[in-house]
């Protein structure tokens, strides 16, 4: 059977599609097998005006905070190490926000600008001790948006 011009054209198109597939499939499979970061997962839910987590005590080492803001307001997530009680953090002069620069507070890390339905992961290497997780937007901490975490 003679190869007409149209047949040749179709054959070229098929070859190109097969080549694209041959390149795309291994890449996709490789991405799916990327190693997940290790560490103790702690699922954190933020909402107006509460912080909830699924574990109050975690082992020392890498802790992976998987944060979800259920809103409806935008929040931030701060992690500090302190021996103070969670509701007794020192306030700034405005009386509405936590003074993170206070000497007995060790501000470790934060995730800010979490809009409603935003998800974020924060990975920290935590030594044994007492930690507080809170939102430091005006009035949020005083509204009750904090939680304690103990690392052993």
């Amino acid at each position: 059977m003679a190869w007409t011009r149209a047949r040749r054209r179709w054959a070229w198109a098929l070859a190109l599609v097969l080549a694209a597939l041959a390149l795309a499939v291994p890449l996709t499979v490789a991405r799916r097998h990327e190693p997940t970061p290790s560490g103790t997962p702690v699922n954190v839910l933020l909402e107006d005006f509460k912080v909830r987590q699924d574990a109050a005590v975690v082992p020392a080492g890498t802790v992976r905070f998987r944060i979800l803001n259920q809103g409806p307001t935008t929040h931030e997530f701060n992690v500090i190490r302190t021996d103070r009680a969670p509701d007794k953090l020192p306030l700034q002069r405005d009386g509405l926000t936590v003074n993170q620069d206070a000497p007995d507070l060790d501000h470790l890390d934060d995730a800010s600008g979490l809009d409603i339905d935003d998800r974020r992961t924060l990975v920290l290497r935590l030594a044994p001790g007492h930690y507080v997780m809170y939102c430091n937007l005006e009035g949020h901490y005083l509204g009750g948006m904090y939680a304690a975490l103990t690392v052993r």
Binding site: D48, F49, G71, P72, T73, T74, G95, L96, D115, I116, D117, L137, E138, G139, H140, L142, G143
Partner: protein, 645 residues
């Protein structure tokens, strides 16, 4: 000749191509753009134009949408800012009242609810520019914004509830401190939520605006591409059309010549090589007059001079142009004055070589003339024979029959003479002496079969130049014949005359059924512009003959409606053909009216009193046929107008 239906000229129903030439599909829907003129755009351009229109419309639409979004966003920001101010005011009012100062927290609490209600449910707020104007705000649609605003509303309720508790308990209440703190915290939270909502709205607006800007940039780029494509296609269409036009001009058998205002040739189409054997470049800068035959130069100059004075006008003329080999080519020219058009600035002549047609016409004319001459000789001999028989005949009945034969032969002779006129050959016989006008009129009337219905009145005692006498008599005979033929046999045809500012006018009026306006216009056109011999001429031969005879001597002939019905033919004899005992026609008194039935001695002889012999062989007894029942008495016949020798 006159009441016959106008010759219908079958107009070929050629399909006209539109300026867009051959467009199909959507191209057909695109209206002709005046800016494009007669440019043939083709099918491709038919697609580009709607695409361009759609793109521009989309850009305008997106612009309007972006402006609307910006305006709405600004209003939301303003409304939210106002709400924050009201929250702070309410908090202060509560604290002031608790401390014993005068304030109205109830009012500020109510005002505090309004902005969030408007943002959630839609409504109107006071305009930022003040002046009592209000601006409508649409309800928030985005679910994130709505949830934040609903939270805002809940916090306001809680704030007001806390405020009420403070106001109710006062400073002495044990929970006073906690409530004050709660009030401040709620106030801060409200501020936070409000800010959050505004930020969300602003971000969304910005994102939407960015999207719109990107779309507009893309649309703009597409528009630029479409405009470029349009330009390229226009240029290509223009180039193709120019090439097509150039090819047409170069290969046309017609010449296109542009004359500069000074009469020199400013442009000459290359087809002149084929027609006149000359190179176009050689002719540019030379005078057109150098090519024109000396006999035609006068007429050409007159035509062009008249045209130069009328910008935009068109004139037709024919002439002979000299070929490179020295021969003369007959041409017809349509000339348009485009001196006002800066792209031309001159007279545009479309010249067609009609040498072959002219030769053919001359050949036909010669043939016609030769045949007519032969017939004329025979008819003349026949008339002479009839004449002799009439003279020797005494029986009134037979004489009457002879008169009828005589009339028919006379009509045949005029038909033959008509053919000679149409052949284009001038009369060989011309009178050198002037002839009384009345003689000419009566000679014309005498040629008509129903001459006894014709009444001649008020003809001035003028003379007519001998060179025109024969033609004028022929011309008048045709008009009188026409008048008698197309009016009732019981009515009269009146021939009268009167002086005008530039000559003398003869009027031939009949009482017939008249002509329609269209017929009259057509007949006048034939009279003013007699054509070459063709089929149409044979249908309306009389008018063509009259027109040709009139044109020979500068006589104007026009038909018009009579107020009493019928048609009047006006024949204006120019002053140059006239003479009189006095120098002015007005000085010559009119001759009293008389009906041709009354015998006129001057017409009963071969030669009139003035010595002028009416056309070639004028019948001798035109005036009155004897009644058949009348006796054969020659005296009685003479009294009745019979020919008398």
């Amino acid at each position: 000749m006159r009441r016959s239906p106008s010759a219908e000229v079958g107009a070929a129903s050629a399909t006209q191509r539109t300026a867009a030439g051959g467009r199909s599909g959507i191209g057909r829907l695109v209206p002709r753009l005046p800016i494009l003129g007669d440019l043939r755009l083709g099918r491709r351009l038919g697609w580009v134009i709607p695409v361009l229109i759609v793109l521009v419309t989309a850009i305008v639409g997106y612009n309007a949408r972006a402006i609307g979004q910006q305006r709405g966003s600004a209003l939301v920001v303003y409304t939210a800012a106002r709400q924050r101010a009201l929250v702070e005011r309410y908090t202060k009012d509560v604290l002031l009242v608790v401390d014993g100062f005068q304030a109205d927290p109830e009012d500020s609490g109510e005002a505090m609810r309004q902005p969030v209600d408007v943002l959630l449910d839609g409504g109107s707020v006071r305009a930022p520019q003040g002046g009592g104007a209000r601006v409508k705000v649409s309800p928030a649609r985005d679910w994130k914004v709505r949830r934040k605003l609903e939270q805002d509303r809940r916090l306001i309720d809680e704030l007001i509830h806390t405020g009420d508790r403070l106001l109710k308990g006062g400073r002495s209440d044990p929970g006073h401190g906690a409530d004050v703190t709660r009030l401040r915290v709620l106030s801060a939270q409200l501020s936070s939520v409000s800010n959050d909502a505004v930020q969300e709205i602003t971000q969304q607006t910005e994102a939407s605006l960015s999207r719109l800007v990107r779309i507009e940039i893309a649309l703009g780029l597409l528009s630029v591409l479409a405009a470029l494509a349009l330009g390229l296609l226009l240029r290509r269409a223009g180039t193709e059309q120019a090439a097509q036009f150039r090819s047409l001009v170069n290969n046309s058998s017609d010449l296109i010549t542009v004359l500069a205002p000074d009469g020199t040739i400013a442009y000459q189409s290359p087809s002149v090589q084929r027609v006149l054997g000359r190179r176009a470049a050689d002719l540019v800068g030379t005078a057109l007059g150098d090519l024109v035959h000396p006999d035609d130069q006068h007429d050409v100059n007159i035509s062009l001079t008249k045209l130069v004075e009328a910008p935009g006008a068109t004139a037709n003329f024919g002439c002979r142009l000299q070929h490179e080999d020295g021969s003369w080519r007959h041409v017809e020219s349509i000339c348009t004055n485009l001196a006002d058009d800066p792209r031309v600035n001159g007279l545009v002549l479309n010249i067609r070589d009609v040498t072959e047609q002219a030769a053919l016409r001359k050949s036909i004319g010669d043939l016609l003339h030769n045949l007519a001459r032969r017939s004329q000789g025979l008819v003349d001999r026949q008339l002479e024979l009839i004449d002799e028989l009439e003279r020797s005949e005494v029986d009134p009945d037979r004489l009457h029959e002879l008169f009828r034969m005589d009339h028919l032969a006379t009509r045949m002779r005029r038909n033959v003479e008509n053919l000679i006129v149409l052949s284009g050959v001038e009369q060989r016989r011309r009178w050198s002496e002037s002839v009384p006008l009345r003689d000419v009129v009566e000679a014309a009337v005498a040629e008509v079969e129903e001459y006894d219905r014709v009444q001649v009145a008020g003809i001035y005692d003028l003379t007519l130049a001998g060179r025109a006498a024969s033609d004028v008599a022929h011309l008048l005979a045709e008009l009188v014949e026409n008048a008698t033929s197309f009016s009732s046999p019981t009515t009269r045809v009146e021939v009268s005359g009167g002086p005008t500012g530039n000559g003398y006018v003869l009027e031939i009026e009949d009482h017939g059924i008249g002509m329609s306006d269209a017929e009259l216009a057509e007949a006048n056109r034939r009279l003013a512009e007699p054509l070459a011999a063709d089929v149409a001429v044979s249908r309306m031969m009389g008018f063509h003959v009259v027109g040709r005879l009139a044109a020979r001597h500068g006589i104007r002939v026009q038909l018009r409606h009579c107020w009493f019905g019928g048609v009047a033919a006006l024949v204006l004899l120019p002053a140059v053909l006239l003479g009189s005992a006095g120098e002015h026609p007005a000085m010559a008194p009119p001759v009293p009216a008389g009906v041709m039935a009354a015998p006129e001695p001057l017409l009963l002889a071969k030669t009139t009193e003035s010595g002028w012999q009416p056309r070639a062989h004028l019948p001798l007894r035109r005036h009155a046929a004897p009644a058949p029942n009348r006796g054969g008495d020659t005296d009685a016949a003479a009294e009745a107008g019979e020919p008398v020798e």
